[in-house]
């Protein structure tokens, strides 16, 4: 039987892909196979076999250490061949997102990346992803015999997944990487969870200096809100990447998003489109954020924020 093959170096994402892939495979008349790569991948392979994959291919080849894109793409292409895969789902983490197109190129395949919805329709797969910086959602099909999709983490849920007892196979793969890892260190971050925050104050480049973000913190404190930010502030390292809202960060759905000194470029606002209320403080009356806001305060944040904090004391 031809197969739908799933892979992610992150076990949680791999399990989601097995769960979601199983439903799609059923609709397309395919089996579900999974791949686990890298030293120590045997444990992940057993987990995926128990999570519902019919067959799990595992290789602990040292070339997969750290999951370099060239080696992983080569390994996946070889497994795709062994498994008779016609669909490959790769978790769209950064590593997955850079690997999927290299794999697709090897397989002569079309690829859709950053997929945030994947459904079977009339015997084919239709993938949803943001386009125009997030202004639109494109629905795309792949037109080649083998199709590759890089699927965002959390696109599928593992809830209600039916356990299985798949078999584990250990093919010998011919792989090597020409990229050498010199050093690795964990990123600093404060691990906030914006996904679930009911109130968010989003801060942007309107703040002139890192110290001034204290004003934003104070407002967030008065509102009982969590602070998120635009990518610019994370690029300056004023705030951690966990706080980025938008296309390359969190997609949030709070009761209130209040953007302060945020211009409202689409790559940011796509992350707050799900907010019940959008409000903004900006000194430029023409700022694009006002065009998508429910409430706008036009003024200098250095005057408006203290006034807001003062007023909130009497709520």
């Amino acid at each position: 039987m031809a197969a739908l093959l799933v892979y992610s170096e992150k076990i949680d994402t791999a399990r989601e892909l097995v769960a979601g892939g199983k439903q799609l495979a059923a609709a397309l008349g395919l089996g579900v196979s999974a791949v686990a790569l890298g030293p120590g991948a045997g444990a992940a392979a057993s987990e995926l076999a128990a999570a519902g994959a019919d067959t799990v291919y595992v290789s602990e080849d040292a070339a997969f250490e750290g999951w370099p894109a060239d080696a992983v793409a080569a390994g996946l292409a070889q497994v795709a061949d062994i498994a008779g895969a016609t669909v490959v789902l790769v978790g769209s983490t950064r590593r997955g997102k850079e690997t999927a197109p290299r794999l697709a190129q090897k397989l002569g395949a079309g690829c859709v990346s950053d997929v945030n919805g994947l459904i079977a329709e009339d015997g084919d797969l239709v993938a949803a992803r943001y386009a125009f910086g997030g202004a639109t959602t494109a629905r795309e099909k792949v037109a080649t015999p083998v199709k590759v999709f890089a699927v965002m983490p959390k696109t599928f849920s593992v809830e209600g997944a039916i356990a299985g007892a798949g078999t584990v196979e250990t093919p010998t793969l011919d792989v090597k990487s020409s990229v050498r890892v010199v050093d690795r260190r964990a990123k600093e971050g404060d691990h906030v969870n914006l996904d679930a925050a009911p109130l968010i104050v989003g801060v942007g480049r309107g703040f002139n200096a890192r110290e001034d973000l204290a004003l934003g913190d104070e407002l967030a404190g008065a509102l009982g809100a969590v602070v998120g930010c635009t990518k610019s502030l994370a690029d300056f390292e004023w705030l951690g990447e966990d706080r980025i809202i938008g296309l390359s960060g969190a997609k949030t759905a709070p009761d209130l998003y209040l953007g302060v000194g945020v211009s409202g470029q689409i790559q940011h606002t796509v992350g707050v489109a799900g907010a019940k209320l959008i409000a903004a403080v900006n000194k430029d009356k023409e700022a694009p954020i006002f065009a998508m806001a429910d409430y706008g305060l036009v003024g200098d944040l250095y005057e408006v924020l203290p006034a807001l904090v003062e007023r909130l004391k009497n709520v």
Binding site: D70, G110, S177, D294, G296, R311
Partner: protein, 259 residues
């Protein structure tokens, strides 16, 4: 070191309007993508450190003014520009873009380092760099926030920003590197640079010049629509205190505060 920077131009997203849920791009000017500007800046900085040449390579993708728009790359410091413009590539998918760029890189002959943004400003698929790396059989380093070349050792060393870690890696040249926005703050060219750019070499190639054919599509876009957004658009007026009053009252009315 010979550096080729692949530069996409895309419709200026700030000027794209949504009408009947469709993005209206007619009459919207194109500009060089944000991350491509970071890649160009990285190339110019590398050239300053180790010498060599920077070529900006752009596939027009239906932008009729691509040969004009790419002059910004020349003003930013690229030494030469090449635009690939062909009606068969007016709306290409990522495989077609990669094939054309790879063919052009081969034709350019000398390329030690191939730089990309980690994704384009409009569609952000991040596919083209890795596809070109595969086509040319080169190592790839994606998401670089720092790029250094040790040309005498024939390697490029990068710090890459991954999901939860920073990774320092080395690859032998020639190699493909894609950059993230935090790598640098691109300089905005001044009048002098803009004037100087006018006399820099700029070539326009067709697919025939590359000895390749129009590509078979690998992807089909079924639809591309904006979500409906229904917002109140209330702008407060008056002093900071007056606006703060009105806003807090509104939040209480909406049930966001004082529950």
């Amino acid at each position: 070191m010979d550096i080729v920077v692949c530069v996409k131009t895309n419709p200026d997203l700030q000027m794209v309007r949504i009408k009947d849920r469709e993005a209206v791009t007619e009459a919207v000017p194109y500009k060089i993508g944000d991350l491509e500007k970071n890649a160009l800046q990285a190339a110019v900085d590398l050239r300053a450190a180790v010498g060599g040449k920077v070529v900006a390579l752009c596939l027009a993708e239906g932008n009729r003014k691509a040969a004009e728009d790419i002059k910004v790359a020349l003003a930013m410091g690229a030494d030469e520009a090449v635009v690939i413009d062909d009606p068969a590539l007016a709306a290409p998918d990522q495989a077609a873009v990669a094939a054309a760029l790879a063919a052009a890189v081969k034709k350019l002959d000398a390329c030690d380092l191939l730089l990309f943004g980690e994704g384009s400003t409009d569609n952000y698929t991040g596919q083209v760099g890795p596809r070109v790396a595969e086509l040319l059989g080169l190592p790839q380093i994606s998401y670089a926030r720092k790029v250094e070349a040790a040309a005498e050792r024939g390697v490029v060393r990068c710090v890459r920003s991954m999901d939860d870690m920073l990774e320092t890696v080395e690859a032998p040249l020639p190699a493909v590197v894609t950059v993230v926005s935090e790598i640098n703050e691109p300089t905005i060219p001044g009048l002098m640079q803009i004037m100087k750019a006018k006399s820099k070499p700029l070539q326009v190639w067709s697919l025939a010049d590359l000895g390749s054919e129009g590509p078979a599509p690998v992807r089909e876009v079924v639809s591309n629509l904006a979500e409906e957004q229904d917002r109140k658009h209330i702008l407060f007026e008056g002093s900071a205190a007056e606006q703060a009053d009105a806003f807090v009252d509104a939040l209480i009315r909406e049930g966001v505060l004082g529950r």
